[in-house]
């Protein structure tokens, strides 16, 4: 990247550079958030359904859940997701970040389809498409209109 371009980025922190940063952190959020959820789901299915809600049975289920490898990889992914989320919220509006990160649902559907072998109907795929359209609309608005950027 040329020096001139760098100077432009520095002079306009609320413009191009801010958008690039916002998109990068959104991508990290979506990637690690989706991965975390899928890994947790796999771990919980390996553990088995919780049917008995007595304190003793819940304690046993709790121990079983936290002995599972997928659960720990899922939690690690969600920690990376959370730090990205906190950083993003330091400059971007919540009403921007929340809908924009909805693109993750498309990824979850695709991951659920390929990794867990879940069936996804045409109706659900249509829902995923609408969510993507909504995200595209939100993505066109200024991430930080309240001027904190």
């Amino acid at each position: 990247m040329s020096l001139k371009r760098l100077r432009i980025l520095r002079l306009r922190p609320d413009g191009l550079a801010l958008r690039a940063k916002t998109y990068l952190l959104l991508a990290l959020m979506v990637l690690f958030g989706s991965l975390g959820n899928v890994l947790l789901s796999r771990g919980m299915k390996e553990t088995g359904e919780i049917l008995d809600f007595s304190p003793r049975a819940l304690e046993d289920a709790f121990v079983k859940v936290f002995m599972n490898g997928s659960i720990w990889f899922g939690i690690s992914s969600l920690l990376i997701f959370f730090v990205s989320y906190l950083l993003l919220l330091s400059w971007a509006d919540y009403s921007y970040v929340q809908p924009a990160s909805a693109i993750g649902y498309a990824f979850v559907a695709v991951l659920g389809y390929f990794m867990l072998g879940e069936f996804i109907s045409l109706t659900r795929w249509t829902g995923v498409a609408l969510i993507c359209a909504g995200v595209a609309l939100v993505g066109r608005t200024d991430p930080s209109p309240s001027g904190r950027g």
Binding site: N37, A109, T123, A133, L137
Partner: protein
């Protein structure tokens, strides 16, 4: 019925948690540039904020409800269904965080909701 109850708990606690965390991060202000040391300083500052811990407590409640839910329901149904929190989130951002929610954002939220309704129907 058990499914509706668990999903409601996940949505309400999750939204309240997000709003509390967002409130705390707004008080810290823009982290720029993002370097490892800036991230550590930011996290040290963030974890001293009461609103962040309130948010985390609410999120944890939502998270453990979600764990219980995922042990007996499909991830490709449960996760899209919790997207109903986009409505409560946008309303909370406008009325509690005083954010300016532009018409394009409301339209986006509406489309996301329609998508969620379709996903939940099947």
């Amino acid at each position: 019925m058990r499914l509706v109850l668990f999903i409601s708990i996940v949505i309400l606690t999750g939204t309240a948690g997000d709003l509390a965390v967002s409130h705390a991060m707004k008080q810290i202000g823009h982290v720029s540039p993002i370097t490892p040391s800036a991230i550590f300083r930011f996290l040290a500052q963030a974890f001293q904020m009461v609103w962040l811990w309130i948010g985390i407590a609410l999120m944890a409640t939502g998270f453990f409800s979600l764990l219980a839910l995922l042990s007996w329901a499909d991830v490709s149904f449960v996760v899209p269904a919790t997207a109903l929190s986009y409505v409560s989130g946008a309303l909370g951002a406008k009325f509690l965080l005083n954010e300016h929610v532009a018409p394009a954002r409301w339209a986006g939220v509406l489309l996301v909701c329609l998508g969620v309704a379709l996903i939940s129907m099947s």
